[in-house]
């Protein structure tokens, strides 16, 4: 008799998310990031529980920490967390809260919640890994409204000047920024010298191509466009 172990895949994510949301009604903030997260963890990043402490691993910094259900679901699917943990999330007994805590949850590279911290930390991580001669990739995920925080713009301006080619910012754009960006988010990054690709945040092949097409010597911004917030 053979036993097959089921390795969770993309198709399992809605069920895993519903363990936290209580039913099939998915929270918009969780849903907006799910495809980007899946493509990154499944196909792009050299990152896993087995190599969690390897100094030269790739880094994923979730800056937009609110609505982390899709993130936790992907961490379960990739073996960082046990599925059984999801149902009790956000209780005093759980290590999984409404904003992730790196000190408590495995696989979580930074604690987030207050907006505008992931990208600036990612700039430092890219500098540090370069100084240590690692070629690790650093990917940070931000929301389009999160870009309102001025700290991001300190980082956007400096990253390209310092030639941080290992740094990727993925902006999940659900058009929720209050005042928006003249000429679009892409232009904001382009002006500062980033390589920029705008794709559908639901199209896995387009996301994969955007993340993996070379962009030598320049940081990369991937604008992943999803449905407007509240359009569900």
């Amino acid at each position: 008799m053979t036993t097959t172990t089921h390795e969770p895949g993309y198709a399992d994510l809605p069920r895993l998310i519903s363990l936290m949301t209580g039913d099939d009604k998915h929270h918009a903030a969780a849903e907006s990031t799910v495809d980007v997260l899946w493509v990154l963890f499944d196909r792009v990043l050299d990152l896993g529980p087995e190599t969690a402490r390897r100094p030269g691993r790739d880094r994923f910094l979730l800056s937009k920490g609110h609505g982390p259900m899709a993130y936790y679901a992907v961490l379960v699917a990739k073996g960082w967390l046990d599925e059984d943990e999801l149902a009790g999330w956000s209780s005093a007994r759980s290590r999984l809260g409404h904003h992730p805590d790196r000190v408590r949850a495995p696989g979580v590279e930074i604690s987030s919640g207050s907006l505008g911290h992931g990208l600036p930390i990612a700039v430092g991580a890219a500098l540090g890994l370069r100084a240590r001669r690692f070629r690790s990739r650093i990917v940070t995920l931000v929301g389009d409204a999160e870009l309102d925080e001025g700290s991001n713009h300190e980082a956007i301006a400096v990253a390209a000047r310092l030639g941080l080619g290992t740094l990727t910012t993925v902006v999940v754009d659900n058009q929720s920024s209050t005042h928006g960006w003249p000429g679009g988010i892409a232009r904001r990054f382009e002006t500062e010298g980033w390589a920029v690709r705008t794709v559908s945040g639901r199209d896995h092949e387009a996301l994969y191509d955007a993340f993996t097409t070379p962009h030598p010597g320049r940081p990369l911004a991937v604008v992943a466009v999803v449905e407007p917030k509240g359009a569900h």
């Binding site: 911290h117 430092g124 540090g128």
Partner: protein, 296 residues
């Protein structure tokens, strides 16, 4: 001997030349003095421009990548402007860094309030686990920096233009003078003026360049009988009062707090001496306060 700031910059350059796991992060301030180091180590001596939030976040990222960051600018911008980055990107992430400020409470008196940060130590004190060093002499600043770089502590090193004539390189509360009527704790650059103020008074004078962690055991040993304590700090008055109160919680005691004023926004320009007078931190004002407290 060069002043604290120049001593720090020379020492930091030595460290970054020697230890390839150390990085220095700047926000324009002092960048010219470290230009040669930046030329030699472009990946590890980083000037982010006038961007203090990024200054601290960059340090956090460097620590995340396994480096040991030394971060430097004026304290008004390092601690106050970038406080959320200190709270979240360093403390909450449990990432280490050595923050080194210059400017103290009013080291640039002619620049006005925007360049004064007497609340910096109180702000850092709101976060657990930080080392806070307030050197009173350039040699102490050098030693404290060298001692802070190994490991992955979160350390705040507060440099000042004001200094004492002699260094005291010991740890914890160091007994400078013995007396019987109580103790005066002089923090960092306050020592020489406290010694002058306490001339002829029967009090113990204790000195420290490290206020966090606070040497509670040292204080208890120094005031075995009469627990009258005067605390003279070069920043916001009473910043360490809770540490003294905790150290002496099981015995009756009185506490006098001297430091920069909490009751008024000081808007004068002028000199360091003018500001010492306004805050009652010149030797004459301290002497009056001590006399009233210990004989009262």
């Amino acid at each position: 001997m060069p002043n604290m700031r120049d001593t720090f910059l020379a020492t930091a350059e030595e460290i970054v030349n020697t230890d390839q796991d150390v990085a220095i992060v700047l926000a324009d301030i002092s960048a010219a003095a470290l230009a040669e180091a930046a030329r030699r180590h472009p990946d590890r001596v980083i000037n982010v421009g006038i961007r203090e939030q990024l200054l601290v976040s960059t340090a956090a990222g460097l620590a995340l990548a396994g480096l040991r960051p030394i971060v430097h600018t004026f304290n008004a911008f390092l601690v106050e402007r970038a406080f959320e980055q200190i709270k979240l990107d360093l403390s909450h992430q449990e990432l280490g860094a050595v923050l080194v400020s210059y400017g103290a409470s009013y080291d640039m008196p002619m620049e006005g309030r925007t360049h004064q940060a007497p609340g910096d130590v109180a702000l850092i004190d709101s976060l657990p686990g930080w080392y806070v060093h307030v050197p009173g002499h350039p040699e102490e600043a050098r030693r404290l920096l060298l001692d802070s770089v190994p490991g992955d502590s979160r350390t705040y090193l507060r440099l000042s233009a004001q200094e004492n004539s002699e260094p005291h390189l010991g740890v914890g509360l160091q007994t400078i003078r013995q007396g019987t009527r109580g103790a005066v704790i002089a923090v960092g650059p306050m020592l020489d003026r406290v010694l002058e103020a306490a001339e002829g008074m029967d009090v113990t004078v204790l000195y420290t360049s490290t206020v966090r962690p606070f040497d509670a055991e040292g204080l208890r040993a120094a005031v075995p009988g009469v627990a009258d304590v005067a605390l003279v700090e070069p920043y916001l008055k009473g910043t360490s009062a809770h540490c003294v109160a905790d150290a002496l919680a099981d015995r009756p005691h009185r506490l006098l707090n001297l430091g920069t004023r909490r009751d008024a926004e000081v808007r004068i320009y002028g000199t360091l001496a003018d500001h010492d007078l306004v805050h009652g931190l010149d030797a004459g004002s301290i002497a009056l306060s001590l006399k009233e407290f210990f004989t009262g």
